[in-house]
Amino acid sequence: MRKRNWRAAPLALLAMAGTWSASAQERYGIGRAATPAEIAGWNIDVGGNDGSNLPAGSGTVERGKTVFAEQCASCHGDNGQGGIGDRLVGGKGTLASPKPVKTVGSYWPYAPTLFDYIRRAMPMNAPQSLGDTDVYAVSAYVLHLNGLLPADATLDAKSLSAIKMPNRDMFVGDPRPDVKIPACTKDC
């Protein structure tokens, strides 16, 4: 028994070392290298807080008004007041009330997120159909409707990243468990 353990121990150590190196360093060799072109085509996420990965180009509030009327108004209302799609405009000052109105202007913490979301998911019946110019333009128009850009503004990566949304500082981390109730079993 003792002799067997003595012989087995180094083998076990070797086996452990082998397992460890496989998980830490060795690879299975599955998949192939993704090419820069493949990545570029799919790498559409824009950093909401800093505008990182926003594309080149720009769009105007004026052009955005036209795009909005053609692509967005049927769901979001002529002036972004909402319909079968979310309300986009107004609601400022309502968040602490019994009937909060969450819109781009009243609730969204970051402006570049608007570009990201419109480009990836809007219009709902034809996502990823708008060019970057029109995505900038319609983002500019929605921000204009919320009083965050003047009517003659042109929006690009730099100016979009520079917009401070009114509700930005109202977001906090997760404090849960916040409701701590002891388990009562009698005379509760």
Binding site: Y28, Y117, D174, R176, D178
Partner: protein, 389 residues
Amino acid sequence: MAEAAKGTENLPPDVPEWMKTPGDPAGSQPYGTPSTYEKNVVRHVPKNAAQYISAASRTPLQDLDGIITPNGLFYERHHGGIPNIDPAQHRLVLHGLVDKPLIFTMEDIRRFPSQTRIYFIECSGNPTYTKPYGKTASDLVGLVSCAEWTGVSLKLVLQEAGLQPEAKWVVAEGADAAAMTRSIPIEKCLDDAMLAYSQNGERLRPQQGYPLRILLPGYEGNMSVKWLRRLKVTAEPVYSREETSKYTDLMADGSSREFTFYMEAKSIITRPSGGQRLSAPGFHEITGIAWSGHGKVMRVDISVDGGKTWQEAQLQEPILTRALTRFRFPWHWDGQPVTIQSRATDETGYVQPTLAELVAIRGENSFYHNNAIWPWRIAGNGEITNAQA
């Protein structure tokens, strides 16, 4: 022989009609479906959704037994409809803060060492705090389901590309029309996160992300991105629309909680429950489901006196981490009006609160993460309704 009354012609002493002639041949249904007599056990689709490509359907919890949700009854929540993806043309791209960006086919993904685990998935708005509250268990918490998932540990896939030291988050993106995007802490990705391609033994259903989804046990369901096409390793969260303007919890003071990932401990009595009716006084088993995003359910207590006293229910094994747990409680109904309810405690010691206790701290506008106790009122005639409606 006297003609039997309609509806009793197959009862003894008569010979049932289905014994007098052969039934359907084997294979008459290449993919089997439930009995035609179970046609009402279906997902509950809302009647007045503004649009159905971004909507949910609910698991009929009150009609199910055990802890596994049948694939056809697993709850749905889509944000851009259900894509019909050709797996031969599906790819997963893994890039960002990795040593070697990689692209995988579905065949590649299935070559990795596989694992099988049972986990629940729950939508974070299950239910919302919006009145009126529902009438049935499905109305209230039918956005939770549980399945046996097979796939690969996400950690193995990330290691294949090699994580760089600054890697703190992984942004997951779906190949649906919403291109659903959520940021996941790297700690979760290296813990129990998995990439799943099968559910209850068969390939994922399109509604559940066919051919590939990420699965984040215990996290709000929205983060378990379906139809997964891309994982981008980053230093910061991406702050996508779905983790800023949605899936954040608005407090009464106007502040909002972000990155509220875990689903806290919860339970519901599914039988007897709202919409059902007790046929007569006497013995009735109280049964239901409990779960916690923080681990195992430790105990479930039942009150059959409106919350004055509580007694421990039996937990059906297996009791699994971040899976539904079935509880049972033998009960004798005396025929008097009564309110019954269940309360879960998880392995962290966390106790499921009442709705009033939750609202006292979070207000009524937080929309997500309502894990309140849900009492049922049983009337003298046996009818069961939501005691909190």
